[in-house]
Amino acid sequence: VSELRVARTPHPTPLPKGEEVRAFTRLLPVAAMVLLVFNDHVLKGAGILPGWLTGKLSDFAGLYFAPLLLAELWMLARPHPEPRVLVRRVAWTALGFGLLFTAIKTSAAFSERYDAVLSLLGRRVHNTVDPTDLMALPMLGVSVWDAWRLVRGSAAKRARVG
């Protein structure tokens, strides 16, 4: 209860520089990013793991770390002293990724536009329309939960120190 009370303080004091809660730059999200890169560029098509597994690994890893990454960039661009804002931002980015992911995995037209937009950015990519990939969507919830857990832990730590 005391932890929650700390997190809901109406006028929180700004966090000291360097002590802000970091959503992405932690071991687990970075490991997920490494897994995605390794899977996409090494495992896929290499015959080491079955295709159905390599086809899903990146989705699960990506949907976990992407909202955390974007939220951390958001916090860098627009800092906010209240740590719980991070959770809200992770939730918003998760919602955005969820909508985008659902669109490109279920609609060939959206998929084609997605490929075209990324091609404009210099990335030659090919998205596969595959509704079964939507099974990775719960990872967005894991991402939000992870951010919430992180902020709660940080608040408890500061309460103990305070």
Partner: protein, 187 residues
């Protein structure tokens, strides 16, 4: 965590999101077949497929100044080499083939594309190239009266990664016209 490391990780993460699922692995698992034939048959064997899986094929290598030629891909369940008469006889080089069209006993037109351009077939432009379980044969006709040299590339690595399947490609030059030089394969 040091600011430099944090910055590097954030950049790496952003790039990882943008670079996910490469369109194709140009050199990984790529088989290139240089052919001087009117047609070639490609056998695609799949052990695990889903109804929306696609077989991807690319072609390149034709001189860029050469006039565009139509390439017709026909998907069949029967091994074309077992068909009589020869599928080349069934194929009308002047006919305006369209995807979905049945071509005699050979199979169904999966795609009609122009070369020389490098192109990969996907759900958006080859809706009739859906593979189902089992072995299927893709016969690629160069819709031109004159034998022409083209280079067909089959991106197996990328295809398998995309379609969750196992693919094997073998080029059958049986349908080469008598004056054609046949198939040279390099991997």
């Amino acid at each position: 965590m040091r600011p430099v490391l944090r910055t590097l990780l954030l950049i790496a993460g952003s790039m990882a999101i943008l670079a996910t699922t490469p369109r194709w692995k140009r050199y990984k698992g790529l088989q290139t077949h240089e052919v001087t034939v009117l047609a070639l048959a490609v056998r695609a064997e799949q052990t695990y497929v889903r109804p929306w899986d696609l077989f991807m094929i690319a072609h390149s290598g034709a001189p860029s100044r050469a006039p565009a030629k139509r390439v017709v891909g026909i998907l069949s369940r029967t091994n074309p080499s077992l068909l009589e008469p020869n599928p080349l006889v069934m194929f009308d080089t002047q006919a305006p083939y369209t995807p979905g069209q049945q071509v005699g006993t050979l199979g169904t037109v999966a795609f009609v594309i122009d070369i020389p351009i490098e192109k990969w077939l996907s759900a958006a432009n080859a809706s009739h190239l859906l593979l189902t379980s089992g072995t299927q044969y893709l016969t690629v006709f160069l819709q031109d009266a004159d034998p022409s040299s083209s280079e067909f590339a089959f991106g197996l690595g990328a295809s398998e990664g995309d379609c969750d399947c196992d693919l094997t490609v073998s080029v059958d030059a049986r349908y080469s016209p008598p004056d054609a030089s046949g198939v040279r394969s390099r991997e």
